[in-house]
Assembly symmetry: C2
Homo-oligomer: 333 residues x 2
């Protein structure tokens, strides 16, 4: 490992994992953390709770489809949701640069409250720190969240034949940030997919016994998340490129900038791995949910005792998708 | 309110309160948050939990008696403790500047783990974000924490006659930060008082029915905290200057820099307001705890239906201590 922190230590890929393993897991060495899920799970007098945190450093703070506040609330809600927890309470910590406009802070705060209202989640504790000009880039927000695990839900072991669902088009959040960052003036109409995923969890509740894993493909995109699943469960995954929903604006942006949509962050999508034979049933429910009409069965688990993610491409070839090796786009969330 | 954020919005005094009232409470408007305690309290299937968060932006990162990691763990543990909650689980979110030395990150992480081990608290969820050079000043840490409220504990209404205890010397953390910040080369031997307060809660457990309020006097020092209590409970407080423990190093630093020790942060002290007649008994227990031998009965509640904090000075006069109006020392935690 290098002697200093590099930007790639934050991209959610190989280098992030190295930093986590070599520093954080080395010291904060307890079973709940080492499970490495989107949320830790703990027990209080028989109640199973999910607990998670994320800091948000997105640049720019405002983008089509949301702002740092919507990311901060949705991101933490979603990390609880994919653990099978109904999100209940959040904390919010603001670190603000001297000189930041209070009117912008108000817009961000209002956005956070709108999502809380929509989801029934409450921000019940918070903190504000102000630092001198130049000591932080405008505004960073940390949120943590607590939720109650839905009775009896737990991730299950994955087998060959299991089916993979994505709840909507990929790369839209990453695509929007790239457009804004490079001021390209193209991709009109592209919006971040940022949204809370609670409604999906509620709607598929009766099918949870057949849901083996839920994940939100944020930093590193679907390629990185699926590689993590392949590694953890020792499985081989085959995706079908023609079934992966990518809107034309994301295609345009990624072609222009040489970005790979499979590695671009989503902030309001869920990947589900479900028991063989249940994919179509669960997909049908999800397609009926707002903003999920492009949900799709994108592939399946084809092999056990190996670790890879492969793509059947449009032109009939096969492409291996590896863990993210290099930082494509820092500060996407 | 001004149009932009000023440094004084973060000093824990009048301006911080204005920002919280006008922005955060306006939108995040729910009873648990509006109570404004050190931790929010919520109920899960009959279990009462405390929940809190703080971001740490202290400058410098390392100081005699601790580092940003010890503050981040102790600060959140203490916010739970003074709410009457036994701290159980923490989250930790790191925002790190590109180029930061990994060896320093390791020292900070190890310190955090040492305090966790000592207290039985576990960091079970975390997050790491890396930002480009110049986008954050070295390293910021957010911690949140969850604890279980000790059976039956709740803050009680305060009456004239109630007694006020401080568990040790004041201003030591703020004093150390001032010394390091201005590179004064004096005050050798002064260390931050940063420590977890759990042992105090455990030792006085049998007396909790007689403990009306517990607070940790961090940003804004004992003067600000006592003013907040005076305002919330509509009481007048009289302190005795000769009973307030201030070590000679803190006296030296504050005289040299023109700082007021009553407004300097402590990071390992607790203020307790206890029922009349129980002050001496509880003080005796506290004085037997490590690092608490200078604990002292510093004053009492002398009046109801008014809101002030007053000091009987050494020379026989009276001095009114107001809420902190101006920022003495930004980024002390």
């Amino acid at each position: 490992m290098s002697k200093t922190i590099k930007l790639h230590h934050g991209d959610g890929g190989v280098h992030t994992n190295n930093l986590i393993q070599n520093i954080f897991y080395k010291y904060f060495n307890n079973p709940a953390l080492l499970k490495g899920g989107d949320s830790a799970v703990f027990d209080i007098n028989g109640s199973k709770l999910g607990y998670t945190t994320d800091s948000y450093v997105v640049k720019p703070l405002f983008f089509p489809g949301g702002n740092i506040g919507s990311l901060a609330v949705c991101g933490t809600i979603n990390d609880l949701t994919v653990t099978g927890a109904m999100p209940l309470y959040l904390s919010a910590g603001f670190i603000i640069e001297e000189g930041f406009e209070i009117s912008k802070l108000e817009v961000i705060t209002r956005t956070m409250q709108e999502i809380c209202k929509q989801t029934g989640v409450k921000i019940i504790t918070g903190d504000t720190k102000i630092v001198e000009r130049g000591s932080v880039d405008n505004l960073f927000i940390n949120t943590s969240g607590v939720g109650e695990i839905i009775d009896g839900y737990e991730p299950k072991s994955i087998q060959a034949g299991d089916e993979i669902i994505i709840t909507g088009g990929i790369g839209e959040h990453g695509g929007v940030i790239a457009l804004k960052r490079y001021e390209l003036g193209i991709g009109e109409g592209l919006k971040s997919d940022c949204r809370p995923l609670i409604d999906i969890l509620i709607k598929i509740r009766d099918y949870l016994p057949f849901v083996k894993v839920m994940k939100d493909p944020t930093r590193g995109g679907i390629a990185t998340i699926l590689n993590e699943i392949a590694k953890e469960h020792k499985i081989g995954i085959l995706l079908s490129e023609e079934n992966i929903p990518i809107c034309k604006e994301v295609k345009g942006v990624t072609e222009l900038l040489g970005l790979d949509p499979y590695y671009l962050a989503c902030e309001g999508r869920m990947i589900l791995i479900v028991r063989q034979g249940y994919g179509e049933k669960i997909l049908k429910i999800i397609k009926g949910i707002d903003n999920c009409k492009n949900a799709s069965l994108i592939g399946r688990v084809i092999e056990e005792q190996c670790e890879y993610v492969c793509l059947n491409t449009w032109i009939g070839g096969k492409r291996r998708l590896y863990m993210l090796e290099t930082s494509m786009l820092p500060r996407i969330c």
